[in-house]
């Protein structure tokens, strides 16, 4: 579909295998999240739903975009809406700043998308995504850098991950959407979409694969030691998206897609449950959520199902989808595969830890949950449980024929057993992990100090520069202009002086001189005969002398 927009650059939309599957996911998850959000949001409803609708619209535009123009439209709309939703509807006085952090971090990365659009246009005269791999020369590399930066920013991969932590100040339903179907997920989606460009660039695939797998491990470690449920889930999102980014890097587009889709259902279930607990029990602190699943049995069951899926336990969804990505990674490089497997172990650890804590026996009373707080989660959790079928031959062959790497039975079995073992080890020790101290524990709990680092290296210097420039503007640039006024006045005074003493003085001097001459000339005219006679005699003598000399 094409809509005229700029000269020769229409808005084009396409629906293919990849965008179709993701679009369905976006729409289903969004609808259920919006339904569940009714239980959470009470005040200022109208603006909340208007902003959420725009947020979803941004995601839909991004998914269906066939050219960089509509992609950019949807992409930036999501960023702005994430700011508005967090800043306006978030919790606490930090929320406006958190919204700003989210938008500015992602927008910094988005500049890459503008550069990529310009490069694509420079190289091909169109903005069609399909034309990306045909680029050559500097436009190819500029476009690759730009798209990778934009995607890593949105997907909260390293080094951009910190904004996701601040985004947790927003409402849980916003988090549920942001982490599953919009925004973060779209970062992964974009890389899958432009995978041919990554290959064409010659270096993009490796960069992306390693950034993805590093994020999967480091953010996995961060998730393991978090003491706040929402922060644990946030870190795990970045870690899980790391697998999607890895998939784009190793050319497993469909493996990445099914992982993205399955993760969307898993994570939206978990966030909605966490949000419901926050509303009903008033806390998101893991220590205080002890036994929460027992106090709210239905919601608890849904959380546990999705949590075990996140851990990669068989037969739940992420077990198979993650393996589809790892099989492709193994074909590319053994190192990628081993690091990726480590990330899978960490996923089992942090997910098992969250599940263990909410399942602990408790003496507290059970709590009744409103219908809307749990009913929309049921379909989400069901897909979270069985979504892994997408990656297995019967379904994969029909939906995504011949493109998903079929996980080997042995590989799947090993992955499943490993996840079970890790979960079994973590289960009794869940509380201790949160208390990990020492340098490493603190650095991990504070998300590698990424935000402080960015503040120290980027934000503070920029603010200092802007203040210095403002002073420079005032004192120097405008100072010159202001100085021109007294200088002009000084020149005016100087010319007045020149005029009064010089030009006018000359005129006066002429007058005075003439007067003096007149006085001098008058002096001989005394009116006395003897004076005149003497004067005549002198003149006569002078005349004779002159005559003698000249002759």
């Amino acid at each position: 579909m094409t809509v005229p927009f700029l000269a020769g650059l229409p808005l084009t939309f396409t629906l293919d295998r990849l965008s179709g599957l993701v679009l369905v996911t976006v729409l289903v998850v969004s609808a259920l999240v919006l339904l569940a959000s009714i239980a959470e949001i009470e005040q200022r409803r109208r603006s909340f739903y208007a902003l959420m609708a725009l947020f979803v619209a941004g995601a839909v535009l991004t998914v269906t975009a066939g050219s960089l123009l509509p992609l950019l439209l949807g992409w930036e709309l999501m960023g702005a809406m994430s700011y508005a939703l967090i800043a306006l509807h978030g919790h606490g006085s930090r929320a406006p700043g958190s919204g700003m952090t989210a938008f500015l971090t992602t927008r910094a990365a988005d500049l890459g998308l503008y550069a990529a659009a310009g490069a694509l246009y420079a190289g091909t005269g169109t903005l069609d995504l399909a034309a990306l791999p045909s680029l050559t020369g500097w436009p190819l590399h500029l476009a690759t850098v730009g798209l990778i930066a934009a995607a890593l920013g949105k997907a909260a991969q390293l080094p951009f991950s910190f904004w996701l932590r601040r985004a947790m100040d927003g409402p849980s339903s916003v988090s549920a959407l942001l982490h599953s179907a919009a925004m973060v997920a779209m970062g992964g989606y974009l890389l899958l979409r432009v995978e041919p460009l990554l290959v064409a660039s010659g270096w993009g695939s490796d960069v992306v694969a390693w950034v993805g797998v590093s994020t999967a491990v480091l953010l996995g470690l961060i998730a393991v030691v978090q003491t706040d449920l929402k922060l644990l889930l946030a870190a795990s999102t970045a870690s899980q998206l790391g697998f999607v980014v890895l998939a784009a890097g190793v050319g497993s587009v469909d493996g990445g897609t099914v992982h993205l889709v399955a993760h969307a259902f898993v994570k939206s279930t978990l966030f909605l449950a966490a949000g419901a607990w926050l509303t009903v029990l008033g806390t998101r602190d893991l220590a205080e959520l002890r036994g929460a699943a027992r106090r709210t049995p239905v919601l608890g069951t849904l959380f546990v199902v999705a949590g075990l899926a996140l851990a990669g336990l068989p037969p739940l969804s992420l077990w198979t989808t993650k393996d589809a990505v790892l099989v492709a990674a193994e074909q590319r490089s053994l190192a990628l595969y081993l690091v990726g497997t480590l990330a899978a172990v960490l996923a089992a650890a942090y997910a098992a830890r969250a599940v263990a804590i909410v399942l602990r026996p408790t003496a507290e009373q059970g709590v009744r949950m409103p219908l809307l707080a749990w009913a929309p989660l049921v379909p989400l959790a069901v897909v979270a449980a069985v979504g892994g079928l997408l990656a297995l031959p019967p379904l994969a062959d029909r939906l995504l024929p011949g493109t998903v790497e079929s996980p080997s039975t042995i590989g799947l079995a090993i992955a499943g057993v490993m996840a079970l073992l890790v979960a079994a080890v973590v289960f009794p020790r869940a509380e201790q992990l949160g208390r990990a101290t020492g340098l490493v524990g603190n650095v991990l709990r504070d998300w590698l100090h990424l935000e402080q680092a960015v503040h120290a290296v980027v934000v503070h210097p920029s603010l200092r520069l802007s203040e210095a420039l403002a002073v420079f503007d005032d004192r120097v640039v405008d100072g010159v202009v202001r100085a021109s006024a007294p200088v002009t006045q000084g020149l005016a005074r100087l010319s007045r002086r020149l005029d009064e003493r010089g030009v006018d003085g000359l005129v006066t001097a002429v007058v005075v001189g003439t007067q003096r001459l007149a006085v001098l000339a008058r002096r001989p005219q005394t009116g006395q005969l003897h004076t005149y006679l003497a004067q005549s005699a002198v003149v006569l003598v002078l005349a004779v002398v002159l005559l003698l000399v000249v002759r």
Partner: protein, 493 residues
């Protein structure tokens, strides 16, 4: 027919002077409304009759000053029509906004209507002398608006504005005389000069371009000629600020596209890099200085320097050798940016005026929590802020995206550096939003009552139009693009 466009506000000014003080506002609104309707009719007429194909429409050409062959030659094309519509729209918004003005409304309406004629005169002029006359009349009109109805240090700011821009216009005049002397046969006619550009020696061409560019750069304004702008805005009445930012700044950027590019193609190409550098510096410097401001109006004023920097960037790119289609996208982006900036910044200044009206200050630190206290102010300000920071879905994005995409093929380094401006403007507007609208109430928050009807109907349509351009820009670009192609073809391949 076009001369009627100039006569209507002038007649309205006389009518306003003759009317009683109470009735002046009715005259003001009626005349500016009529003028907007007329401008729209011209716009639609030119579109419907296919008049917009890169050439002039509604041309009129009469003898004026025969001794120097200066003629009363007026006409419009795709470069000027959108700006004429913008001008008429901004003045109507000002008339509505000032509905409750009590301070000498009669003479205020008269001077504003006079200013409207002067501004429109610049956009329709096809003769350099005529252009210059209207250009200077606009300076005179704005001087009286600031000096007569401003606040704070109005007399000083008005004088600074007048002297600075007047000296700039003298440089412009020197450049125009250079164009006249360089042309063969001697002429001030813009169409003639574009068809047959003056053949100047490299030195003479450079000097003429320097004179023209300095004159226009003061008005635009670009770094380093911008320091008259913040005090003029801060001390002007809100309507004055809206016209100053919305219309008067465009006289400078319009001059670059209308005069500098077509009549001095050779020197423009030689010195295109200078335009790129000045553009990029204005983009970054304007944004960074704006970030440090604590006064809302000064902040918005500096964002104008940033936004006009993008126009300079596009003008520089258009002058370079390279793909004509890409460069005409850049020029189209530059014209779109003029319209877009006029709408958005006009609206933002009127909203800043609401704060001054209620609380007597523009100090960002004295507000907070306005989203609760005055939701309509907050909503419109938020829309304006996001539009101004270039969010897709509003006109600023359509303008800036065209400038980036069109300029990048010929000037990749400049564009990639200029992109950083997008990040800084995003930061400063979000920060302003957080300080004004969210968080705890400030000392003056309680004094801010929400928008009145006449204020809302003044501001909201400007922003709605910006969003309309952002979502469906064809109705504007259909008019601009042919003219942009013509400009680029005049500059050369």
């Amino acid at each position: 027919m076009l001369v009627v466009l100039l006569l209507v506000p002038l007649a309205g000014a006389l009518l306003a002077l003759a009317a009683p003080e109470r009735v002046a506002r009715h005259v003001f609104v009626a005349v500016t409304g009529l003028e907007l309707a007329f401008a729209l009719a011209l716009y639609l007429g030119a579109r419907r009759t296919g008049g917009v194909t890169g050439g002039m429409s509604y041309e009129q050409d009469h003898a004026w000053i025969p001794t120097i062959d200066s003629r009363f030659h007026i006409g419009v094309d795709g470069l000027s029509l959108p700006l004429i519509g913008l001008t008429a729209g901004i003045f109507l918004a000002c008339a509505l906004y000032g509905w409750r003005r009590t301070d000498r409304p009669r003479s205020f309406a008269a001077i504003m209507l006079f200013l409207e004629t002067a501004c429109l005169g610049v956009f329709v002029s096809l003769d350099l002398v005529l252009f210059f006359v209207f250009f200077d009349l606009s300076i005179v009109g704005m001087y009286f608006v600031i000096a007569g109805w401003g606040h704070g240090n109005a007399a000083r700011s008005a004088l600074k504005f007048f002297l600075y821009t007047f000296v700039g216009s003298l440089a412009l005049l020197v450049g125009f005389i250079g164009l006249y002397l360089g042309s063969d046969p001697h002429t001030f006619d813009l169409v003639e000069l574009a068809r047959n550009p003056p053949q100047l020696s490299p030195l003479a061409g450079g000097l003429v371009l320097l004179a023209v560019s300095v004159g226009l750069a003061v008005k635009t304004p670009t770094v380093p000629f911008h320091t008259w702008l913040p005090p003029a805005h801060t001390d002007a009445p809100s309507e004055g600020s809206a016209v100053l930012a919305g219309v008067l700044l465009k006289l400078g950027t319009y001059g670059f596209v209308r005069i500098a590019l077509p009549t001095l193609p050779g020197p423009m190409r030689t010195y295109a890099v200078v335009f790129l550098v000045v553009g990029v510096v204005s983009v970054l410097y304007g944004a960074l200085v704006a970030l440090a401001q604590t006064d809302l109006k000064r902040m918005i004023a500096y964002t104008s320097v940033n936004h006009m920097g993008y126009v300079l960037l596009a003008v520089g790119a258009a002058a370079l050798a390279g793909d004509p289609e890409a460069r005409s996208i850049a020029v189209s982006g530059a014209v779109t940016q003029m319209v877009s900036h006029g709408l958005i910044t006009g609206a933002l200044f009127l909203l800043a005026g609401v704060l001054l009206d209620r609380a007597g200050t523009y100090d960002l630190a004295r507000f907070g929590g306005l989203a609760q206290r005055a939701p309509r102010v907050a909503l419109l300000f938020a829309v304006g802020a996001f539009a101004s920071l270039g969010l897709p879905g509003a006109s600023g994005f359509v303008a800036e995206f065209q400038i980036f995409v069109g300029s990048l093929p010929v000037a990749p380094v400049a564009v990639v550096i200029a992109l950083l401006g997008l990040l800084v403007t995003a930061a400063l507007f979000l920060w302003a939003l957080n300080r004004l609208m969210l968080g705890d109430p400030g000392p003056d928050t309680a004094r801010v009552t929400d928008l009145r009807v006449h204020e809302a109907v003044a501001v909201a349509p400007l922003l709605l139009l910006s969003v309309a351009i952002g979502v469906a820009p064809r109705f504007l670009l259909d008019v601009i693009e042919p003219a942009a192609r013509t400009v680029v073809s005049l500059v050369g391949p």
